[in-house]
């Protein structure tokens, strides 16, 4: 009977992993950034700020001197369609950063952004068949980008792989400058936002900084909501998770009620023999607790193992041990409550039940 609990625990872990993975697929590239906050253009709506905001790169200087701000640097973000030389379509979230700045990542092969026209791609792009040295060409404007390396771990934004490139190339792509054409000078003054890094232990006063710099700042966490579709996804998936956890807990609670009611006769016999209600209750609760703990441990273990198998596939899967832990605790708690309620009900039934058969 522990198998029911174990199966529910597996279901819980898998669905939780899939939904967290899906959410993560939208913002994992942002989560990996060493950024404390982003300053967007003033007046930009919070949802979709990454696609709408344009700020002057000079604003970074205004932020750099603020108390609590260790450094500030321009950050570009745009989604593009591109084609690999092999003809495969590759969708990329291009992150434009200053080469050599603290925002510029290092690839697994040790490469950093060396200069114009190179790109460092998130791991998921590697799964499409791209290799170091390949060239991807941005659709419409034919800008060639040479793959210089891949980043460690999942780097995605809006469910596509992130590609880091130097800010100037990013500015040209963003402005729609065709490959080989001369770009107007003003486009090199623009970025999506200013990335801020707080000094260790400090919390910069974003509101005061916004007043001074004429921007609208969001912390890194808040900025997730500015990525495409994130708010809608997370509210849907949160709802699914909450229902999943609540239903799991209720099913387990009801299950233990039924299991305990099946012991009705046995409990009546024990009562006739002089066992106190308290002792029966304790007995039943300890039994349920052992069963629940064992079964849910096994279930979570199997779920995590299955999750590890899924992680090897392109399906996004990410385990959030905090929520799984609290959901499992809820499962165990509701199970124990279910058993307790059932025992209390049973001990109030006619003790004549013990004289079974001769009803």
């Amino acid at each position: 009977m522990g198998s029911v609990v174990a199966l529910i625990a597996i279901l819980m872990v898998l669905l939780s992993g899939l939904s967290v993975g899906l959410v993560n697929d939208g913002v994992s590239g942002l989560k990996k950034l060493p950024v404390s906050a982003f300053s967007f253009q003033k007046g930009t709506p919070t949802d979709g700020a990454f696609s709408r905001s344009t700020v002057d790169v000079g604003v970074a200087d205004l932020w750099r001197g603020r108390p609590g701000v260790e450094d500030a640097t321009p950050f570009g973000n745009t989604l593009v369609n591109a084609k690999a030389a092999s003809g495969v379509d590759v969708d990329l979230a291009l992150f434009g950063v200053e080469p050599g700045s603290w925002l510029a990542p290092q690839a697994t092969n040790g490469e950093r952004l060396s200069g114009r026209g190179t790109v460092l791609l998130g791991q998921t792009a590697e799964e499409t068949g791209l290799r170091v040295g390949d060239t991807v060409v941005v659709d419409q404007i034919d800008t060639p980008l040479e793959v210089a390396g891949f980043l460690d771990g999942q780097h995605t934004f809006g469910h596509v792989a992130v590609g880091y490139l130097d800010l100037r190339t990013w500015q040209e792509i963003r402005a729609g400058v065709r490959h080989g054409e001369t770009a107007p000078a003003h486009i090199y003054e623009q970025a999506t936002a200013i990335a801020l890094r707080a000094a260790p232990g400090a919390e910069p006063d974003l509101a005061a900084g916004d007043d001074a710099a004429g921007t609208r700042s969001l912390t890194l966490e808040e900025s997730f909501g500015a990525s495409p579709g994130y708010s809608a996804e997370i509210s849907t998936l949160d709802l699914i998770q909450v229902f999943l956890y609540a239903i799991s807990a209720l099913v387990v609670g009801a299950f233990f009620t039924v299991v305990t009611i099946q012991r009705k006769h046995e409990i009546a016999v024990l009562r006739a023999m002089g066992s106190s209600t308290g002792r029966l209750l304790l007995d039943s609760l300890v039994q349920s607790l052992i069963l629940l703990l064992t079964a849910s441990t096994v279930g979570v273990g199997l779920g995590v193992a299955a999750g590890a198998a899924i992680s090897g596939t392109p399906m996004p899967f990410e385990l959030d041990f905090g929520s799984i832990g609290s959901a499992t605790a809820g499962l165990v708690l509701l199970g124990v409550i279910g058993a307790g309620v059932a025992v209390l009900r049973i001990t109030r039934v006619d003790p004549l039940t013990a004289l079974g058969g001769s009803r």
């Binding site: 066992s275 004549l352 058969g357």
Partner: protein, 235 residues
Amino acid sequence: MSAKDTTPSLVLDSVTLVHGDGDELVTALDNAQLTVMPGEFVAVVGPSGSGKSSLLAVAGALVSATSGSVRVGGVDLTGLSPRRLTRLRRDHIGFVFQSGNLVPSLTALDQLRLPLTFGKTGEPRDPAALLREMGMDHRADRRPHQLSGGERQRVGIARALVTRPDLLLVDEPTAALDRQRSQEIVALLADEAHEHGVATVMVTHDHDVLHHCDRVLLMVDGILSEYASQTVPSR
């Protein structure tokens, strides 16, 4: 003779038990009189639904009498709290149920140890020795589903006796047994009653085992009457 031997183990004095409410009143026990002395083995026979189980329930402190008084080992049950009644069952009363009613997950030996975990019960008998006395020591590590009906009943009897109860209440012990086993089980109950001075009240349908009993009572429609053994109607 010690004082204990002269105090009746069970006294029912004008006990009436009425079930139900309103128009649906059922008199399960009607002004019942019964005194059982230590070491006495009493059988109660009667048709189904005549109130035999109610008699056990009232004598076993599972149900309170509507009127009259019940005394077990000299203690009047009237007005005792549920907690006191539970303790009294634990310390003074043993139950033997139909087909043993053992706890499914426990071995034969653990069935006997179980009541000893309910609390302090004076000087209990040694579970292993008692199991040997019942001829069950070779099955001590078996669980109920691995035992035959007769074996289950022996374990059930041993479980009821392990706390040295003053009063043993036995409900249809032979209902699930063949003739040979029935004789053995009831003989065992008689031996225990006589050797260890346990007052035993056994409800049964089985008229073939009545010759083991010291006294036979007849229950019809809640009315208890004494029968001499030779007048017991045979099947």
